[in-house]
């Protein structure tokens, strides 16, 4: 079982590592939203996504995020690519740029391929953003950030502390469960299970040998944890203090301004491309290429 599936935290001391987790969380959400904005035609979409890819790539380099673990995370997208290709190829659609006409009723368009590529690029960028957050931020810091964002809900008596405890426990137990899964997989491999071989049914059968023991172990662990917390008098509804307090420095402010600047530019581009008629002509003129 790979432990870096969502970007394991790596203890470097980069600028990105040192940023306030609340800022990183905000930037993640904001960048994810702008990746999914509409940008009119495909030329505009790919130009904006290309620029965002460069920016996100640069952040990955500065944050010393492992590109190999990023590419390994993408390997699980293959099934989705195949599914999307099948879906796009065999569902008749209308487009402007035909590739091949099978008969009068069905024509394959470049638009189908571009649509698949567009979905994939957006997903890849989303994965990259998540990996940047998890590789450069301690799980507990992510929880603190989330807890801070939930604070206003306390006004309506929402039990934010219970939510943040649940999230922090879930994050805390990810490495433990991955280790457990690894141990079970090794034990099953020693009994002749090959997790890489076989087709659908064989895979399901071999995964069963992992899932059942893992669930048994999870339930037993959660029981033990609940008892241990109760034994130490834990009350989720009591006011709690923190050992670590988050501080928003001037560096965080600069980073926030940069992120807001990028986001505003992309949002403006998105609004212009979908509302101003003749905007494509201006873009055509600027890029010097024909848009599709």
């Amino acid at each position: 079982m790979r432990s870096d599936i969502l970007g394991k935290y790596t203890p470097y001391n980069s600028i990105i590592h040192r940023l306030d987790p609340r800022l990183k969380f905000f930037a993640l959400i904001l960048l994810m939203v702008i990746v999914f904005l509409p940008f009119g035609n495909y030329t505009n979409r790919f130009i904006v996504l290309g620029i965002l890819t460069l920016i996100i790539g640069l952040i990955m380099v500065i944050g010393r995020v492992s590109f190999s673990s990023f590419f390994r995370s993408l390997s699980s997208l293959w099934m989705m690519v195949i599914f999307l290709l099948i879906f796009m190829f065999f569902i008749p659609t209308k487009g402007d740029y035909p590739i091949y006409s099978f008969n009068e009723n069905y024509t394959l368009y470049w638009d189908n391929l571009l649509q698949v590529a567009h979905i994939l690029v957006r997903l890849i960028l989303m994965i990259a953003l998540t990996i940047i957050l998890t590789s450069t931020t301690l799980p507990m810091d992510i929880t603190y950030a989330l807890d801070w964002y939930l604070t206003p809900l306390k006004l309506v008596k929402f039990p934010t502390q219970v939510v943040s405890l649940t999230i922090s426990l879930a994050l805390r137990f990810i490495p433990t469960l991955l280790n457990e899964a690894n141990r079970i997989m090794n034990a099953q491999k020693s009994r002749g299970v090959d997790y890489n071989k076989g087709f659908f049914m064989a895979k399901i059968k071999s995964i069963t040998t992992l899932i059942i023991p893992l669930l048994v172990s999870c339930f037993s662990r959660s029981d033990e944890l609940a008892i241990a917390m109760e034994a130490r008098g834990y009350d989720p509804y009591k006011h709690r203090t923190r050992y670590k307090s988050l501080k928003f420095s001037y560096k965080d402010l600069i980073a926030l301004l940069i992120i807001i600047l990028i986001a505003s530019m992309v949002i403006t581009f998105s609004i212009c491309s979908s509302t101003i008629s003749g905007f494509d002509d201006i873009i055509n003129f600027i890029w010097g290429i024909k848009t599709i």
Binding site: S66, A187, Q188, K189, R191, G192, D194, T209, P213
Partner: protein, 297 residues
């Protein structure tokens, strides 16, 4: 010829990461057929990593592990050399299913690997994966369950309703049912009461007497003293030596190995410290020590 050979075996976790950790470093030793070897060393010395190179669960970053005719290595230069010399095909160096049949491995808390609806089915799972026919696997499973002390009344019970010790015995039966010639146990008695511990260790001893080579990873020096015929010491990822248990426990500088001396050897030390003059170094069990002491009287 030795049954198991470690040739300059090193293994690094998180190689390209700030969390890089050299778990084992340049390990060289051999284990003979039908040995009962205990692998000792403090936590983090590399014991569990080393045994996982025995059936290809981990591939040495440098050097290689040889088990019978199987080679386990992740060292590209060694692979290249072996393929070039036509000693092995590349696919043979990447496929470990035959090796895993030869090397049975029992991990810590093996009861967590149980998943089938009945005890019998769970024990049959390994042999079936290794190519035993249904009938053959069933017979072997029943034989092994009896060997670990679980009679026919257990066969159709769910493994999840058994006690901790019983679950562990089912898990061990599941490994020995595949007929391995080498049995590797990683702290098999962790979390068991003294009786349960003795039962498991006596069972391992019985399996050894039937001709299986045993490698046991343990922190319990009583186990080393009472069951193993050789002991291998690892410290800080390095191999310190292989010797008889009595030889290790009689060493004056045993503290440098970060090992706990069994009470029997502590008692011998006290005798020496309190001025007992007669040579008691040859006494390696309570009976022989009593003999020497009574002769004196």
């Amino acid at each position: 010829m030795s049954m198991i050979e470690f040739h300059h075996v090193s293994f690094v976790y998180n190689k390209k990461d700030p969390n890089r950790y050299d778990a084992i470093n340049d390990i060289n030793f051999n284990i003979e057929e039908n040995d009962f070897v205990a692998l000792v060393g403090k936590t983090g010395s590399g014991k569990s990593t080393l045994i996982q190179t025995l059936n290809g669960l981990l591939l040495p970053s440098k050097g290689y592990t040889k088990v019978k005719d199987f080679i386990v290595t992740g060292d590209k230069e060694i692979i290249k050399k072996l393929v070039k010399e036509k000693k092995y095909k590349k696919t043979e160096l990447k496929n470990f299913s035959k090796l895993r049949k030869e090397v049975g491995m029992v991990f810590q808390f093996p009861e967590y690997q149980l998943f089938s609806e009945t005890v019998l089915k769970d024990v049959m799972f390994g042999p079936k994966n290794f190519g035993f026919k249904e009938k053959e696997a069933e017979e072997k499973a029943k034989e092994c369950l009896k060997k670990v002390g679980l009679d026919a009344s257990y066969f159709n019970r769910s493994p999840f309703e058994l006690s901790g010790g019983e679950k562990r015995r089912v898990a061990i039966a599941g490994i020995i049912a595949s007929n391995p010639s080498i049995l590797v146990l990683d702290e098999p008695t962790v979390g068991l009461d003294p009786n349960g511990r003795k039962e498991i260790l006596d069972l391992v001893k019985k399996i050894h007497q039937e001709g299986t080579t045993i490698i046991i990873v343990t922190h319990d020096m009583e186990t080393v003293m009472n069951y193993a015929n050789k002991v291998i010491v690892l410290k800080d990822s390095k191999y310190l030596g292989m010797m008889k248990p009595s030889e290790l426990f009689n060493k004056d500088d045993i503290e440098t190995y970060s090992l706990e001396v069994p009470p029997f050897y502590k008692f011998k030390r006290y005798l020496k410290e309190y001025g007992y003059k007669k040579d008691i170094s040859e006494a390696n069990d309570l009976a022989s020590l009593i003999n020497i002491l009574s002769e004196e009287k």
